[in-house]
Amino acid sequence: MIDNAVLKKILLEVEKPARYIGGEFNLPDTDKPCDERVCLCFADKYEVGMSNIGLRILYHMLNDTEGVVCERSFAPSVDMAAKLKEHGIKLFSLETRREFTEFDIVGFSIGFELAYTNVLYMMDLAGIPFYAKDRGEDYPLVVAGGPCMVNPAPILDFFDAILVGEGEVNLAGFVALHRKCKAEGLSKAEFLKRASELEGVYVTSVGGKVKRAVVKDLDKAYFPTKILVPSCDIVHDRSTLELFRGCANGCRFCQACFYYRPIRERKKDTLLKQAKELITNTGYEELSLSSLSTSDYSDLKGLVDGLKEEAEKENVKLALPSLRLDSFEAEIYEDTKGASLTFAPEAGTQRLRDVINKNVSDENILSSLTAALKHGVKNVKLYFMIGLPTETEEDLKGIVDIVKLVRKLHAEHGKSKIINITVSTAVFIPKPLTPFQWEEQISIEDMYAKQDYLKRELKLRNVKYSWHDAKASVIEAALARGDRRQSAVIKRAFETGCVFDSWNECFDYEKWIAAFEYCGIDPREYTGAIPTDKELAWDFIDNGVTKQYLLRERERAYQGITTPNCIGKCNGCGANKLGRCFE
């Protein structure tokens, strides 16, 4: 346990001490009798990790399990890390301030490739060796889960096991089996051998193939409504309802779309009950709806009507994210009293939108924006990608044309006096488990050239243009399709000072490039085109969606043929073998 007297002094010397104190409302009983202690770690700051719905679900699920206590730990800011080192304090859990070695299992949730160095940063602060092979019986089992497990190859060697898929299934199974094996007095190696047979569990020392674990019936799946309410401000400081998992749209660049399939919904009545409980138990002022494409929820209008009634009674604001352009419903929008609208056409022309399978037409854009502006929208946020396969100058010009169209429509139909347009472009990153997983990423020079063009062309009144850092996109792409050799690169990058790489102010491209060079690896090996017949680093994972389907989609992309939303008719991606779509 940590020396609280020393900690008390340290907390006064760091920024936002509330990040490190725990004590939130609705804290589960972590002093209850237990035979298994799990520490769930998030490889980013408290305010980011506490906003993560997956971590929230798993934390409460484990704490609601008799005999199991689950605690949390987040990556401390560099000022806190320096103080911990200075005073010889190891990284600890928030609830009981235990060191990592006092836990049976330490689980990392990793949602972003640029968080890899933060995992090592936390391990280093916790005083545990980086490589699984160097951690004997004295150390806890260290496992990883989260969206990055679509290709865990670059970080495999750091973990005893990788939990692929949904934690309600694989983490629950892993913890239950460990309790049993611990009671039987089995060694770590013996336990891991048995664990390798669990659904969605890949044991690094055993190898083989693994099938992603999914919750079969989402409506009946565990969902906490008595959730922690942080005492300090966090990124998404609100209650969140999870409408459904998976996405029927099949945008060809989108990893989440394919990774979270099959598509499973929660019933409206279940969601309304959960909303009521969340409002009562948390006191949050805002309730948001979470999914990959909220507009696709089967009874969105009915759900919003029901939520509106409850929300108005309790002075709660409803937030509707992820509205898809082609199904924008002005009526819903008006009901939720929003003043801004976020659209993601992703590409500037119909041709390129067809290539990426963003099933949004020019007519959709025109009619949706007109409706929104007529209803008083005064802030429009537009998201695009640059560097998409087959992109031409015409496509970039198309982005500018859409922005000009919004201005024109506002002049003709706008209810508000002014219109603020925010345009944001991300750089295309070919991600595993997408039809574009074999594509090359454009060069850094091309990224700058395209961004410069847009900077010039979007110098318009009330238009703000922002863009993702090109250099960070290159490293993200290299890690996303990385292989096992990259663990050395990640370790080297961390050792030379790379942490919080997803924070612009902390990212250091030169250090990353130097780390690649030090390990004798060229990052362009990973950002270039990959032959479709080449074995991929993530082929050992059965994510449901088949390679044949992805190849077919890739072919259709090059032909400019769209694939319809699969709500009406199954497109045969293969995910339904993991569980039924549309219960």
Partner: protein, 214 residues
Amino acid sequence: MIVFRHRKTGEAGYLSHIDAMRVLQRTMRRMKAEVRYSAGFVPHMLTYTTTPLPLGVQSLAEYFVADSPLDNPEELLERFNASAPSGMQADFCAVTAVNPNLAAKVTASLYEVNSEVKISQEVLEILDMQEYFMRQLKKGQELEVEVRRKIFSLEKEGNKLYMTLATGNENLRVDSFVQSLSRFGVKACAGDIVRLEQLVSVDGKFVAAKEILQ
């Protein structure tokens, strides 16, 4: 109006004033207390507090006022404590017809300081001084300021120092003052300070703020 006296102890001592306000407003929402909202474009809950504590300083006597028509203090106290985090539990609730405006009425606070070493007699001799200078941050600049008139009482008991210092408009930052006492050997940081009570002046005497609410 409903008024709660709540503590801010343990982890809650490290919450900023804004964070603590948010926690208290969410407590009101969880306890389903009927509280009035402002009538502006973005309505906000009408609540009031007294002078904020420096970060790390603990308290047994923070006052939180909510504009509410509710009128059963015993029941409200119970509901508040069922809905507030453990570090912010209340021990007193009163109902008043109008806003008691405690921020203006509280003019002093009684603090307890737990020093790592025994408090020396020299500390108490500050009361015999005409002037007492200490370093204080003002608008980002560290200045030497004279604060003797803001020190109302000093008493010691072993390692503990009890002090009554000005609060409110004529505020004396307690953490800065305690830091200045290091010249007399006092070894304590903000985390070693507890506000025991907030005081109002009645007929020239300090009384606990809750006394004027009853």
